[in-house]
Subunit: 307 residues, 2 copies
């Protein structure tokens, strides 16, 4: 099984007919849970059209508190309650998130049958889970914004019991030693290295999920990234013409950084509504491809990627 990523919303600021507001769901390889990154308004509506399941969302990671990334969380929690689950949920994000959710909950009489644990993310942190780690990076935006890096734990090599049997080793204490990778001397004097029967460890995948950010270089310390999902609100050409420069990344900036980092696959998301035609979309992806040689993809709503 692969890591599955579903783009629930890919628009910046306001919804369009083709793109909803920011939200990305990620299902780790080893589990049936869904991690949700951001929750713009109508994320629950998008989930209804996808393979994501609301009661299986037990962790929500919020990049920042701008409405296009957060206004769907109240309804999502309400619908999670209506789904009948009483499993606790953890919500990670910047300072103010707990106050916002708790105020809305209290005033709207929302009684949840599950507990919420809030974690306020401050700067660079490591959040450890059974099969993966999530690291956080402080980004550069008009309000506090966080990037999340999903890092799968390396998978230990697998002991090939059939190969050991073929080599004439009988089950028993010798096998146990070999499984631990130890070297064993058999009664006939033959020396056997357990490592010969263990497949090489499988390197965990790394996925970057950015929040709004005008400095993609803040992710440069991650050298071996399998998938980088980052906002690319404008083309450089359009950005240069803006009277008011919002703190966002251009397709060019992002592509050049991804190229420098050696990112294996790049997804551009958080697309300005001005690109809401096939022709204008092309400008974004073409600009990215001029500066990045890997596989560059323009996110679309309900698109799924497996890595």
């Amino acid at each position: 099984m692969a890591i599955e990523i579903v783009f629930l919303g890919t628009s910046a600021g306001v919804p369009t007919k083709n793109r909803n507001l920011s939200s990305i769901a990620l299902r780790p390889k080893q589990s049936r849970e869904w991690l949700l990154f951001d929750c713009g308004e109508a994320t629950q509506h998008q989930i209804m059209k996808s393979s994501v399941s609301i009661p299986k969302i037990d962790k929500i990671f919020i990049t920042h508190l701008h409405g296009d990334h957060i206004y769907g969380i109240f309804g999502l929690l309400a619908s999670r309650a209506m789904s009948g689950t009483d499993k606790a949920i953890s919500i990670y994000g910047p300072d103010g998130l707990e106050e916002m959710i708790e105020t809305v909950k209290r005033l709207s009489g929302l009684n949840l049958p599950f507990d919420i644990t809030y974690y306020t993310v401050k700067g660079s942190q490591r959040l450890e889970f059974e099969h993966y780690t999530i690291e956080t990076v402080k980004l550069s935006h008009s309000i506090e914004s966080i990037g999340y890096i999903f890092i799968e734990k390396d998978k230990k090599g697998h002991f090939d019991i059939e190969k050991a049997k073929s080599a004439g080793i009988s089950p028993g204490p010798i096998i146990a030693k070999l499984k631990r990778g130890e070297t064993v001397t058999l009664n006939d004097g033959i020396v056997i290295d357990g490592k010969e029967f263990i497949s090489p460890p499988q390197k965990g995948k790394i996925v970057i999920i950015s929040g709004d950010n005008d400095s993609p270089c803040l992710f440069e310390k991650y050298g071996s990234v399998d998938l980088m999902i980052h906002e690319a609100t404008y083309t450089q050409r359009d950005f240069d013409k803006l009277e008011r420069k919002f703190k966002h990344t251009t397709a060019k900036d992002l592509a050049a950084t991804a190229q420098k980092m050696g990112v294996k696959k790049l997804v551009l998301t958080h697309i300005s509504p001005r690109y809401d035609t096939a022709q204008r979309e092309t400008e974004l992806i073409k600009e990215a491809k001029r500066y990045y040689e890997g596989e560059a993809i323009l996110a679309k709503d309900l698109m799924t990627i497996e890595i």
Copy 2:
């Protein structure tokens, strides 16, 4: 021009594939503005598919603070700001509404280019506008809930100048008196009653828009209602089987009250997701028609009614 009513969302509690959460837009006869009643999550998405225009919404009336009636207001305000208008907006609703909106605004860094005026509705009030009055009724629900009655002002009769000319009356001070409905004696002794030239006044229409409520009889003082839009979350048959009785109205209750009141047209809305098939919908409307002889309509999303 008629009063136009657009049903933006007609589901109770959670969105379904066919119905979004509560919101109704009403355009008064004499103006280009839209009044919005309730604003469940993704109301702005529904507006995109309708004839309603976000920058033309200058007044929002909230029936109660349950999430399925209010969680779309933050995004709607953000998108109204993005539309470029700086016209002030008035928001009417129960206590707590201002705190909810202002807290979310502050924490999400939402800067609006227009002012919001909040009016806390307490019990029965009359809100006077140029062409209509809105009366409020305190309803019976698990939290404070308000019904709004839109009452068009009666239109004065129109003076028929051509008819007066045909009767041989020349323009001048006599016409002015007749226009005021006075009786005038002409030089030749003929007595003319101004009222003969004035068409009868046109009675303003009355539209009831309820919030969640288990007692539709609270609207009984309105005798001559042109259109009653009221929640009918369940059939009586299903309601009787519920273990936990939520404070909602059944199709039977609503229909019997509308019949007693002599309501001209009745719309059932705020439909439980359990009726999300054509067959199950029929049960609701059939039950209503057994107890109400007028025109009963089951609301559908994006349905428009003109009266």
